[in-house]
Amino acid sequence: MNQSFKAPIVHIHNLSKSYFRETLEIPVLQGLDLDIPSGGFYALMGPSGSGKTTLLNLIAGIDRPSGGVLEVCGSNLNQLDDDELASWRNQNVGFIFQNYNLIPVLNAFENVELPLLLTPLTRTQRKEKVEEALTLVNLMDRLENYPRQLSGGQEQRVAIARAIVGNPMLLVADEPTGALDAKNADEVLAMMQKLNEEFGKTILVVTHDPKAANFARHQVHLEKGVLDKTVEVNR
């Protein structure tokens, strides 16, 4: 199955990002070009400080570029104001973080339900979707558990359920296995693979673990703010 004929879900052209420390400009990303097709599973790799997180944040719409074209899930992110961008994220992007970032005072069910609170869904519809998502990550028996009552692997699976519950097109994950042991890491990565293959989710995962990157179909290397060629993974 060759997916590269589909319209790109991420279209980046000449993208740049600089930080400013007082008046000093610190360029982080310079003139990036990248297209990710719908249904792609991309691993973004590169040394520490190369700008992986920065690029992921731009694509996910939680940071603003300094220049260039940034079109994701059919929207030109540069043209959206902050509130439009927030609602765009709610509908189009699921986030998976290294530290899971579950809300400690909410149980698994409530954590997963959070993104749905912003939708017009009724309570019953929300319950249905949350249970569907938690079934997918095999945690239906943990609905009422609070994050501190879950293992790291389970927490990350709740986070995955939270990321997919709103049925977004794009999943972004920044070092999703960075805090997990090998067994749990494999489980989480396999789950992402399943989401990609069976549910057609487009996934962008930042990692510097080559083993993790091998779960993806394509690998992109970032080096000092510049993208290397895209490599297809042979499985």
């Binding site: 996910a60 939680i62 940071d63 509130d83 927030a86 709610n90 993104p115």
Partner: protein, 385 residues
């Protein structure tokens, strides 16, 4: 409404901190409410209870000395005087010494003229019935409600000052503007005079009603001068004279109470700002995660404000509830010792003002930390880990 669970659980994140700040809020609101109610009560007592053309003539050497009833003849002769009523504090109790309330032996005819403002609402028939029955009595509405008394009931009153315990039949129930005035029982003066030998021809005081308030200073001087060199000298005091000094004192108390109120408000605002800032700061990453998920900055602001407002509403309601409980206790326990406390109530106006103040404190002290918390960029918030 679907966010209320999130708001509530976020507030209960650190239970100890939440209960500490809640306790501080409750105590502050309680303090403010009690002080302001006290002020409002004193105000209303001093505003309402003065019938300007009434004064009391008593023994110069104190309330425990008696005057000859015959003095009343001279008082009635004065052209400014409308009516004179002998009056004696009886100091009896009903069934149990704890059941204390004001009870007086009063002239059964003239009292209805002299106290037309504080003994009101009885029908002419009831008044006639009372005047006809020498062992009859009349009681205020509040008193009647307290003991479940009805017209026709017989009340045994145990004397403490006088060696008699009359059984009195209720002939009427009257109303007054102030609770303290309604918490009173009156019976015939003649009953006291005729059953207590040493009260024969004696009375504790005369209540005198004049045509106009302007008559009072002249008249009271004339009376006191008239009896100046007799064995029983008199002292004429107006209700107004008492309340005037009272009102003057009130001015100072009012300033102090308002000062304390403002100080408490400032202190609680500062404490709440500090607590809320700390609470929100600890959640920097969480707030960033919510926003990444699609919660807009204004939505997060709304959630954080919701927490603050929930907290102060809770604190305010508990504080005011505590205050009204304490007011009830003060009224019932200390009301017998300090008459004006029988009128101590939380006025609706005071409750509204205190609740409004609390909400304002909540709004001001939450909005600043909430704005600071939502101003931070998402990326910064995620890095804050």
């Amino acid at each position: 409404m679907k966010f209320i669970n999130l708001i509530f659980k976020s507030l209960m994140r650190s239970k100890r901190r939440t209960f500490l700040i809640l306790g501080t809020l409750v105590l502050s609101v309680f303090l403010i409410t009690i002080l302001q109610s006290l002020l409002a009560t004193l105000d209303s007592v001093s505003n309402q209870s003065t019938e300007g053309n009434r004064f009391i003539v008593r023994h110069k050497s104190g309330l425990t000395q008696f005057l000859p009833i015959s003095y009343g003849d001279y008082l009635r002769q004065q052209p400014e005087v409308i009516a004179v009523a002998n009056s004696q504090w009886f100091g009896g109790y009903y069934q149990d010494p704890k059941n204390f309330f004001a009870n007086f032996a009063n002239d059964h005819t003239t009292m209805f003229t002299v106290f037309s403002d504080t003994v009101a609402g009885m029908t002419d028939a009831e008044i006639k019935e009372y005047q006809r029955d020498g062992t009859g009595c009349i009681v205020g509405q509040i008193l009647a409600d307290k003991f479940g008394w009805k017209v026709g009931d017989t009340i045994p009153l145990t004397g403490t000052i006088f060696p008699i315990s009359p059984r009195l039949t209720i002939r009427g129930i009257f109303k007054a503007r102030l609770a303290s005035d309604e918490n009173t029982l009156y019976f015939h003066y003649k009953l006291l005079e005729e059953s207590v030998p040493f009260m024969k021809g004696k009375t504790g005081a005369f209540w005198v009603k004049t045509k106009t308030p302007e008559d009072l200073p002249r008249l009271s001087n004339r009376i006191d001068n008239h009896f100046a060199n007799s064995p029983e000298e008199t002292l004429s005091e107006t209700e107004n004279a008492f309340y005037l000094t009272f009102v003057k004192m009130l001015g100072n108390i009012g300033a102090i109470i308002h000062g304390v109120t403002i100080a408490v408000i400032i202190a609680i605002t500062i404490v709440t700002i500090g607590t809320m800032s700390m609470a929100f700061k600890e959640r920097t990453t969480e707030i960033a995660v919510l926003r990444a998920m699609g919660f807009s900055a204004s939505r997060v602001l709304f959630l954080l404000m919701g927490e603050g407002l929930l907290l102060v509403t809770l604190g305010g309601a508990l504080g005011i509830g505590l205050a009204s409980l304490v007011a009830k206790i003060l009224r019932e326990v200390l009301g017998s010792a300090l008459m004006f406390l029988q009128d101590f109530r939380l006025a609706n106006e005071t409750i509204l003002i205190c609740m409004g103040l609390t909400l304002a404190i909540g709004l001001i002290s939450t909005i600043i930390p909430a704005i600071v918390a939502t101003r931070k960029s998402i990326v910064e918030g995620l890095r804050a880990l």
